[in-house]
Symmetry: C2
Subunit: 193 residues, 2 copies
DNA sequence: CCTACCGATCGGTAGG
DNA sequence: CCTACCGATCGGTAGG
């Protein structure tokens, strides 16, 4: 039941926002009484923390594998960025929730993301710097800022990109078009030549 | 007083979110009584619509001028993208509010943004297509998707980029570093050569 | 896990 | 613009 509450809370926090969602609303959706949620989580804030921690756990567990699967392919970089975007696109509520948390409590999120992503990030920026030393990556590129911008685009595409795309009457498969263009932008602005 | 309520509501909706903000909270901050807000706006939802409309009015009024100022400069494109990012960076609450609205009610936002931005957008994509015809813009670029991604990066940088940047211990002026890299990414992925 | 219930706060109305 | 007040809903507690 704890898992069902977490999944439903994630869904409602993502679509309604934490402030507009209610414990009773989550409880009703999973078929229990309002106060019973507080048997599994001591407070609404604790539920919020658990939902967020759950999302970050999920990313930490499955994202490395998704990225590693692209490692052997030809067009390794394109496949990696594609895997990144597809990973977020496969579950929009998680990406939306993280964007909301970044807006709602930036200070806590900074601490959390630093603790969770710092090791993974330095691997990426180190790889970019190696590419710059070898001459395959553009020398004027700012590695940290580049990574932040690519991730911002990927998460943003999932969180709000669908709406932005439909506003253009972008026809069918707008998210795929956005994802493909994101990959092109990332590749072109990364590599020399 | 109507303007002061709008400004304060914009600030609180942006930082707290619409659901977590309250009419009484806005009223207290501007020094009037709770129900008095409803003398100026018939309901909380009406205040929300007014705040959002005000932001879009502001963008429609001042963004063209900010972009036009870059038109004469050398490095015209860099100056334009720089102006776009600086414009959003100068007033984060407005960008945050729009991101929140995109998450809270995507359907209404699609209609609103289509009505407001459609003409301006086709100017941009038309210019890009001309550049493709002349050979100065990369032929494989997807004009609509490109514009959506650049704007997503610009708004995302303001809305959540600061947090993302500090998570890297990006040193001083992280937003300027992000903005500069955004400009570089946009330019490099747009032009041939 | 439940019911019964608490004080606080919410958006909104009445009446001036 | 105000005070006084409404019903509804909120997060959370007591007690089982």
């Amino acid at each position: 039941m704890r898992e069902r509450i977490l999944a439903e809370a994630r869904r409602q926090f993502a679509t309604l926002g934490f402030g507009a969602a209610s414990l009773r609303g989550v409880a009703r959706a999973v078929g229990i009484s309002g106060p019973s949620v507080l048997y599994h989580f001591p407070s609404k804030e604790a539920l919020r923390d658990a939902v967020l921690g759950d999302v970050l756990d999920h990313w930490q567990q499955h994202l490395p594998a998704a990225l590693a699967a692209a490692r052997g392919k030809e067009g390794r970089f394109d496949a990696t960025v594609n895997a990144l975007v597809s990973f977020f696109l496969a579950d929009p509520p998680r990406a939306q929730l993280v964007v909301r948390e970044l807006l709602d409590r930036p200070d806590e999120m900074r601490a959390l993301l630093t603790a969770r992503l710092a090791p993974w990030l330095s691997v990426v920026t180190d790889t970019i710097r190696e590419g710059q030393a070898r001459g395959s990556v553009r020398p004027e590129l700012d590695p940290e800022a580049f990574v932040v911008q690519i991730v911002t685009m990927a998460v943003g595409t999932v969180a709000v990109g669908g709406t932005a795309a439909s506003m253009f009457s972008m026809g069918e498969a707008p998210n795929e078009r956005l994802a493909a263009e994101l990959v092109r932008i990332a590749r072109t602005s990364l590599f020399t030549g």
